[in-house]
């Protein structure tokens, strides 16, 4: 493999839900098949990556979001770090600051402690980087949309007028308030 990013991505795709990083209920990051990550030439090291994954997840925890999905943000920042040494060191420094604030390793801290760390870091560089990546990259990713139930572009599918724009299980409003469509 010559391109570490592509190979890691395809690995994650094949590996599905059970591999990659798994964040257990208590918040501890465990690694199954971690060799796959370690074998790649990533810009950021394992500890930094693990912490980033958990920070992203702590910021926007969702039952339907798998760890593979959270890797979207880690991957994206890893890509930037591989092109820019200053990004790489900022990520490492940021994780170190989070660890320090957690009084050990952020990834080993209780969820209560981790929320406190996040709160204390609001507006700081690494916090902003992670939040920005989650908002702008993670939530702008079609795989995440599919899980959360946003259907993305609709023009190529003819819009929703024949595809469930009135299918929610609430009472149908009066004809006066909501007339029938022109096609009916």
């Amino acid at each position: 493999m010559t391109n570490s990013n592509i190979s890691r991505r395809s690995f994650l795709k094949k590996a599905g839900k059970t591999s990659g990083f798994v964040v257990l209920a208590g918040g501890v990051v465990q690694l199954t098949s971690f060799n796959a990550w370690a074998a790649k030439k990533s810009a950021i090291d394992n500890h930094v990556a693990k912490t980033m994954l958990l920070v992203g997840k702590d910021m926007f925890p969702g039952k339907r979001f798998s760890d593979d999905l959270y890797m979207i943000a880690v991957d994206s920042l890893d890509g930037k770090a591989s092109k820019d040494e200053s990004v790489k060191s900022a990520l490492a420094d940021g994780v170190a600051a989070f660890d320090k604030a957690a009084g050990g390793k952020y990834i080993d801290a209780s969820s209560k402690k981790r929320m406190k760390v996040l709160k204390s870091m609001e507006g700081e560089g690494f916090f902003n980087t992670m939040r920005g990546e989650m908002v702008n990259v993670f939530f702008n990713n079609p795989r995440v949309w599919a899980v959360a139930g946003w259907e993305g572009a609709s023009y190529d599918k003819g819009g929703y007028y024949l595809r469930g724009f009135q299918d929610a299980d609430w009472p149908q409003p009066s004809e006066d308030a909501s007339p029938k469509g022109w096609w009916e």
Binding site: N128, G149, S154, G159, W170
Partner: protein, 525 residues
């Protein structure tokens, strides 16, 4: 038949901006046989160019020139460089608008009389009444093709509306329906019917939604009296020795400065760029900028109350399917000071896609955490509304020139200063409460009270007034100081009312065109 006018042709009317105000005024003047050059800073896009992608569409057409903010409003913290969401493109913000097209209520044209003195507010009655506006509202509704007017049926309500309606019924609200919308419920005026795409804020690919860009401009071009110049960014309005306007200077797409002569100039750059341009055009004769003898240019900036309530429902909603703004509750729009504030507000459904929802649900650095994660994870269970209320004009809320920062043309950037008035805060609190009640009644598990987005309704910075000392222009949008200078956009608003502004902007433009044509014929301008 697109026409070309000479830069030295001093018989033309120059219109700055091609949005709701400028696009409409241009077409109306051209229809009356007046030669018009419309200068638009943005590019021209067709419905084919629009993309069903929130960030891509935003980057494609939003006004992203440098701006700064100050004041205690939350937008200044959350979006310091982006005080407003306006469009830089042919058609202006009507490319992204949702289409809600409501007339003002009678009392909203005379709030000073109606509300009395409100401490800290620079309230003023409009120099026009609803009665005078009615014929123009009528024409504007016909032009735009507003549903539930002129025999045009209302739109069918989508999922987001069904939830709103259910909540409204249970709350005992009387007036809840799919709204008066500038969206075709059936084919009309050469435009398609709405396909319920759900990307109204990104440019309507089916062309069902009225936009000055493809509804007004092509009609103006057909007259043979009209030239549109795109990527023509006006940086100065010039005058002759007698103090009358004689032309404008603009930067063309190659970065070269051009000077277009003019018989009259109408400014319609939206309420931040319009006062900025007047201020930037200062000379030794007009040291404080054009039309600023009363010192009112840039003051009384209004942005509507705005707030949103997003609910997590107990069942799937799929609010994103269909029109972005799919219905309205008008019961709270009355003036009823017993609620603890003057003026009123509208509740209108609103849906954002997941990318924008992540950015706007709780904007800024506090926008994260378990509750936010739960909402976004269950995006398909969300329902939402936007609250549009009358905010108080205040002299200190204003657009000024920030001479420490320069834009791409080397011109000082506009600074937008805003503090919420106590009345705004009281109204927002009330509206959050009622919005929450609506969704709780419809089965919500939890709600977010979402603070304002960058302003989409920018108003009042060159307000019309009966007396010259109270404002910038008269009841026709004509400058109090300079007879051949006109304000033709939302900057004219004396006060904001509770209703979305565009129908009123378009009505004023139709009315202004009539006035200009008449005065030109008489030779007074």
């Amino acid at each position: 038949m697109a026409k070309k006018f000479d830069l030295n042709d001093d018989t033309v009317a120059v219109v700055i901006g091609s949005g709701a105000g400028g696009g409409t005024l241009s077409n109306e003047l051209a229809q009356k046989g007046i030669n018009v050059v419309c200068l638009e800073a943005g590019k021209r896009y067709t419905t084919d160019d629009f993309v069903n992608d929130e960030w891509a569409a935003f980057l494609q057409t939003a006004w992203l020139d440098k701006r700064t903010t100050s004041g205690s409003w939350r937008v200044a913290t959350d979006f310091p460089g982006l005080p407003s969401w306006i469009v830089k493109s042919v058609g202006g913000s009507t490319l992204h608008w949702a289409g809600a097209s409501l007339r003002f209520q009678e009392h909203e044209f005379k709030v000073k009389t109606e509300y009395g003195d409100v401490a800290g507010a620079s309230l003023l009655d409009w120099p026009i009444s609803l009665k005078e506006m009615e014929p123009y509202y009528d024409k504007a509704e016909d032009k735009i093709g507003v549903t539930r007017t002129h025999g045009i049926p209302g739109l069918p309500g989508n999922n987001n509306f069904k939830v709103l309606y259910d909540g409204a019924q249970k709350m005992g609200y009387k007036d809840c329906h799919t709204g008066r919308m500038g969206i075709n419920s059936m084919p009309r005026d050469g435009r398609n019917a709405c396909l319920q795409l759900g990307f109204c804020f990104q440019g309507c690919k089916s062309g069902a939604k009225w936009s000055a860009g493809y509804s007004e401009i092509p009609k103006a071009e057909k007259t043979g009296n009209f030239e549109l110049r795109t990527e023509a960014h006006v940086i100065q309005i010039t005058h002759n020795k007698a103090g009358k306007i004689d032309g404008v200077v603009y930067v063309d797409k190659d970065g070269n400065q051009q000077k277009q002569k003019a018989r009259i100039v109408a400014v319609a750059g939206n309420s931040i760029e319009t006062p900025r341009l007047l201020l930037m055009s200062n000379t030794s004769m007009y040291p404080d900028g054009l039309s600023n003898s009363a010192g009112q240019v840039g003051k009384n900036y209004m942005r509507h109350l705005t707030a949103s309530v997003y609910a997590l429902m107990d069942k799937p909603v799929n609010m994103h399917r269909g029109t972005t703004m799919a219905g309205i509750i008008t019961d709270e729009s009355r003036n009823d000071p017993s609620r603890g504030f003057v003026g009123g507000y509208e509740m209108e459904t609103l849906s954002l896609g997941l990318p924008f929802m992540a950015a706007f649900l709780v904007p800024g650095t506090t926008g994260y955490g378990p509750k936010m994660g739960k909402f976004l994870d269950n995006y398909d269970h969300m329902a939402g509304m936007w609250i549009v209320g009358e905010d108080m004009p205040q002299e200190s809320n204003r657009v000024t020139l920030n001479t420490n920062e320069k834009d791409q043309n080397g011109m000082p950037v506009p600074n937008v200063h805003f503090d919420d008035h106590a009345n705004d805060l009281a109204m927002r609190k009330h509206a959050f409460g009622k919005g929450t009640d609506v969704y709780k009644a419809a089965g919500a598990l939890d709600v977010f009270e979402t603070p304002p987005y960058p302003s989409t309704h920018n108003l009042g910075t060159c307000r019309m007034s009966e007396k010259a000392r109270d404002g910038v222009c008269d009841k026709h949008g004509k400058s109090h100081d300079i007879a051949n200078l006109f304000i033709s956009d939302g900057s004219q608003f004396t006060t904001g009312a509770a209703e979305n502004p565009t129908l009123t902007i378009v009505s004023l433009a139709i009315r202004q065109a009539e006035y200009i044509a008449k005065e030109m014929a008489k030779g007074t301008i």
